[in-house]
């Protein structure tokens, strides 16, 4: 064989991937050809070096980090339905509020995770575009609402929502272990929607503006909460930023917005609708499941498990309460941006 042919074979030859016919030809040629011998030597040196490269050790944090992400992945996150443009002509749309509420799921062995995953998969299949929120944003939001509502049920086992909308889902009583088919979720008869409006106002003084907004809110018997704006908005604006969140009955929203306008509104509020039906149903379902497990734990006198289940129950009932609150009222988010004086 000629050198060119041999050289093509040197690579597999080195890995013992040539057949006996090829081997014979190669060995014979190499015996007589120093150039090809040299080339083989180089290939071998290269291979040996590459096989001995420094490889770092996998850091110890790996398992923990991965576990975190695997569990975060099981969080169901709301998908905001996209925006209706305001009817008022001539305004330019400004910042958009990001809304997130999540029904969280504990990475607990006690919850029937096959349900959860199957449900999650169903969601994945039915939607084209999903917006995912940072988990921390979601949890922060819930914290905010928890504080606001001063949910006292957190202390007890009472479930405040039993008189609410009918239980829509009945989880199958016997769940075969192997089952991975999606749970059939019947849509709730009542669609739950949370309305969120958001707008930006440029002001001379955020302090004064906040006071003014509080007055407006109080005049409409609306709840309000003053937050420092999220970092996303901070980044967008040079001066200090404050955010006031108003929760008002749906009929009062237009009136409140009218009153906000003279303050220096940059844009007519963006209207964001979030369909919460599924989340509501899920929360109800989870509560029912946890109840069943609480019964079992009580029968077994398993105090440790009871404790865990109670904790989970509290979280779910809190979430349900949050969703309820979102549904019953509309939210107006007012971002106040202080003019930066040159």
């Amino acid at each position: 064989m000629k050198c060119e042919q041999i050289r093509e074979l040197l690579s597999p030859y080195m890995d013992q991937m040539t057949d006996s016919h090829e081997n014979n030809a190669i060995i014979a040629h190499l015996a007589a050809c120093p150039d090809c011998r040299e080339e083989l030597k180089q290939l071998e040196a290269m291979r040996d070096m590459m096989g001995n490269l420094y490889t770092p050790q996998l850091p110890d944090t790996f398992t923990h980090d991965l576990r975190q992400r695997l569990n975060d992945d099981k969080m169901i996150i709301l998908k905001p339905k996209y925006l209706k443009t305001p009817s008022k002509a001539g305004w330019i749309a400004a910042a958009v509020a990001v809304v997130a509420l999540a029904a969280g799921i504990f990475s607990s062995n006690y919850l029937p995770v096959d349900n959860i995953i199957a449900y999650h998969e169903q969601q994945t299949q039915t939607t084209d575009k999903k917006t995912t929120m940072s988990v921390n944003d979601i949890l922060d939001k819930i914290k905010v609402w928890d504080n606001q509502d001063k949910i006292t049920d957190v202390e007890t086992n009472e479930i405040p929502v039993q008189e609410q909308a009918p239980a829509i889902i009945t989880p199958a009583d016997s769940q075969p272990e192997e089952e991975t088919l999606p749970v059939t979720v019947e849509p709730a008869p009542e669609v739950k929607i949370a309305d969120i409006y958001s707008t930006r106002i440029k002001v001379d003084s955020t302090e004064e503006a906040v006071d003014k907004i509080i007055q407006i809110a109080q005049a409409s018997q609306a709840d309000y909460d003053v937050n420092v704006a999220s970092s996303m908005v901070q980044a967008l604006s040079a001066g200090s930023t404050k955010m006031v969140e108003i929760k008002a009955d749906a009929e009062k929203v237009e009136g409140i917005i009218e009153e906000l306008e003279p303050m220096g509104m940059i844009a007519a509020p963006m209207h964001d609708e979030t369909v919460l039906t599924e989340e509501y149903a899920r929360a109800l379902q989870q509560i029912e499941i946890i109840n069943e497990q609480i019964d079992i734990a009580k029968a077994d006198n398993n105090t440790e498990e009871l404790q865990k289940l109670n904790q989970e129950m509290n979280l779910w009932t809190a979430r349900l309460a949050v969703i309820d609150k979102e549904i019953s009222q509309a939210t107006i988010r007012v971002y106040l941006i202080e003019e930066v004086k040159p």
Binding site: R7, E8, L9, L10, S11, P12, D15, M17, E39, Q42, L43, A45, M46, R47, M49, M50, G51, N52, L53, Y54, T55, P56, Q57, L58, P59, F62, T63, D65, L66, R67, R69, L70, N71, D73, K74, S107, N109, V113, D114, I116, I117, E121, E177, E178, T180
Partner: protein, 193 residues
Amino acid sequence: MLAEEVLVKQSLQGDTLAFEELILPYQNKIYALAYRYMGNEEDAYDMTQEAFLKAFRSLRTFKGDSSFGTWIYRVATNVCLDELRRRKRRISSLSLDEPLATQDGDLVDKEIADMQPTQDIIIEQQEFAQYIQEMVGQMKPDHKNVIILRDMMQLSYEEIAGVLDTSVGTVKSRLSRARNLLRKKLNDREHFP
């Protein structure tokens, strides 16, 4: 691999602990793989997490016609390649961590600083290592894949064919071309003794 089958099934039902057990034998290898692709530990770490996360999410697509290890390698390879492609498209200044961006000197210094006091031969190896990393980094995906999977990760030809979803014949020819390209570049730089 009956135990593995069971773990896969459990993982499909959302059992994250089962999934952790499933991937345990592959963690270090995948990290090493990612390190070869990305060139630095931080990115390698991120890509490894991404790879396993992706594996968990798309576990349904693992049909069992290949071994789980092969499948994991495939997922990880794709994750790395996707990220590299994404970065190439971005018009941004490359960080010092990316071997492509810097002079040889910077990289060598960094490596030397990280390692223990060296002798000449080790420095030579380090220079070689850096250079190889750079050269491989500049290769087209097809060549990059086979070099990393064969010469660095020491997978068999059959395994590589499985990972890349191609034939052993293709692996043979790609490897031959890739190695020769590398060899020529090394000759240009007079890296061979």
